[in-house]
């Protein structure tokens, strides 16, 4: 192994829980590992203390991620991660609260919590790993399953339309929104760093491969083939701006899509406390 790569993997090992029973629940080649290592490198580069990081998740393949990492981890119920995270952050505003979620978890059962966390602009970073399918329960359709795509609950093709998580987050009030794929690991790392550093609600969508279900049912090949398709179909934001809607069909726009500073919920509430307490301690 080249030295630079070894150093990178050493960094990752430092953040994995020594007593957690490995191997992970993830299939070989799953994009979750790429996102987890990007997340760890981002946290390491930001120099955050592990004690001040709370890693919150719901239910699903993606949601197992916090359990493997040596932070304050809260593995909650399906769809509710952002609501739990809101409690953690509001009770302890000094903590960095990171939610790791999937497309089913965040956008179906957790859709209401997702839009309201965005609306409050509470300082939480959500990393949404979007593999267009329910992996843990065995390949059912999700709110991001593309039209006509196959899953075990859309055996004749999907009759529904998907959500675009990034557009949804922006419309709902999130103040940092970015997208990358698991092929674009360095970009993903940089976006996660920016998102954690951003003061307000931030979303990083990581387009990922579930070759076990989505890939197999839709004849997209193995993990390598799917990663290659992410590479081929990705369009950087600057270029995407010059393209028509027709040209962008089937493409994945990669980049920081939205980044603005607005007042943050915990700050605003603290002002209200300070006013009510009137200098009293």
């Amino acid at each position: 192994m080249a030295t630079a790569e070894k150093q990178k993997s050493d960094v990752i090992l430092q953040y994995l829980r020594p007593r957690k029973k490995f191997p992970s629940v993830w299939c070989a080649g799953c994009g979750n590992g790429v996102v987890m290592s990007a997340l760890i490198r981002a946290i390491d580069r930001l120099g955050l203390s592990r004690d001040e990081v709370a890693m919150v998740s719901g239910i699903g393949c993606t949601s197992r991620m916090p359990v493997y990492m040596d932070f304050n981890s809260l593995h909650t119920a399906h769809g509710r991660a952002l609501a739990f995270a809101t409690g953690v952050k509001f009770a302890r505003p000094n903590m960095k609260v990171i939610v790791v979620t999937g497309d089913g978890d965040a956008l179906a059962i957790g859709g209401n919590h997702f839009i309201h966390a965005c609306r409050r602009n509470i300082d939480i970073t959500a990393i949404l790993i979007n593999n267009n399918i329910y992996g843990m329960t065995g390949g059912q359709g999700s709110p991001t399953t593309p039209p006509n795509a196959f899953s075990t609950t859309t055996p004749y093709g999907n009759a529904e339309k998907p959500f675009d998580p990034c557009s949804l987050a922006k419309a709902a009030g999130a103040t940092y929104v970015a997208r990358a794929t698991v092929f674009h690991a360095p970009q993903l790392e940089k976006m996660i760093m920016e998102a954690i550093d951003h003061h307000g609600f931030s979303l990083v969508e990581a387009v990922s491969n579930c070759h076990t279900y989505f890939g197999r049912l839709n004849r997209q090949g193995d993990a390598v083939a799917m990663l290659k398709s992410f590479k081929d179909n990705a369009v950087m934001l600057a270029k995407a701006k010059t393209m028509t809607e027709e040209e962008l069909k089937g493409k994945i726009v990669v980049g920081t899509l939205y980044n603005e500073t607005k007042t943050e919920f915990c700050d605003e509430y603290q002002k209200l406390i300070d006013a009510q307490m009137g200098g009293k301690k």
Binding site: R19, N72, S73, A77, A83, G87, V88, F90
Partner: protein, 378 residues
Amino acid sequence: MANKKRKLMQGNLACVHGAIYAGLRFYAGYPITPSTEVAEGCARELPKIGGKFIQMEDEIASIAAVIGASVSGAKAMTATSGPGYSLMSELIGYAYITETPSVIVNVQRGGPSTGLPTKVSQSDTMQARWGTHGDYTAIAVAPSSVADTFAETVRAFNLAERFRTPVTILMDEVIGHMREMIAMPEPGELPVFDRVKPRVSPDKFVPFELTPNFVSPMPAYGEGYRYNVTGLTHDVMGFSTNRADEIFVKLDKLKNKIENYKNEIAKLRVEMMDDAEIAFVSYGTVARTALQAASIARKAGAKIGAIQLCTIWPFPDEQIVQLCARCRKVIVAELNMGQIVNEVRRVLPRDIQIHALQRYDGEILTPMQLLEKLEEVL
């Protein structure tokens, strides 16, 4: 006592002040009749003491935020009524299995479904015991007056903190909305219990360690312990397990930490029972009616007493058996189609006649109705 601050206060507001007295610093909730004044009171009062109030997007989010705040070290509460309590049920189970102290107020109204939003009921009594799926042991308390609401709310927090468990306060529409004079307890007058924190260093910390009393010390997030909290059945380290020998240990822990102390958790208010041959058994709003009916019947010469259950769950089996040992007849009065009466039937010997007086039309039971029932069974 003469200097005590006396106030005219609504039951729901007494719950707010009791909670703050007990150390409440975080409230998350969603408006629902007849509990909304609890949320409004917390929104007004908490910022004044540096506490936090948040109106969440629904009841599921409310209990989630409460649990999130509690693992972060805050004493946290939510309040709701039947429909919201149903929505919270799954995550109340999360609080059971993760052993997270949390207080859930259910100001009961008639059901099922939207039911009777403005009418009194006690029909969530069994739901407070069995509401979430799976095996667990529940704690629920039921106040019967405004002053009682203050005291029972403090007790609910103490039980939640001591046993690391969710505790339900079973109020009802009448208790929530009635206004009475209350002598506000002074600081220090009522005991306040804070959760036990670990004394070992983080590297020696076993998050769900089996201790002699089955309650594990609980650090807050950010205090250096970095442990895992999960709703999956877990081992002592907090990691999910499928091993039979670890599963039963965890489930027994949830049960034993409460069942082994049920006599300390039990609280009953007993009136005129020394020589009683007949007993009224009731709780919440109905306990007031029962006491009045018993007093009237006593004056007319009946050997009758009244037992009020302040602790509903765990059900105070032994106490009921002892108190009713000399009774020939017991009348269980409640505002539902029969919930606690079956518990009384379960624990009392068969030679005691047990009668049920039930009302579930959204109205209270009157003393006259209890007296009529008494006459009927005599």
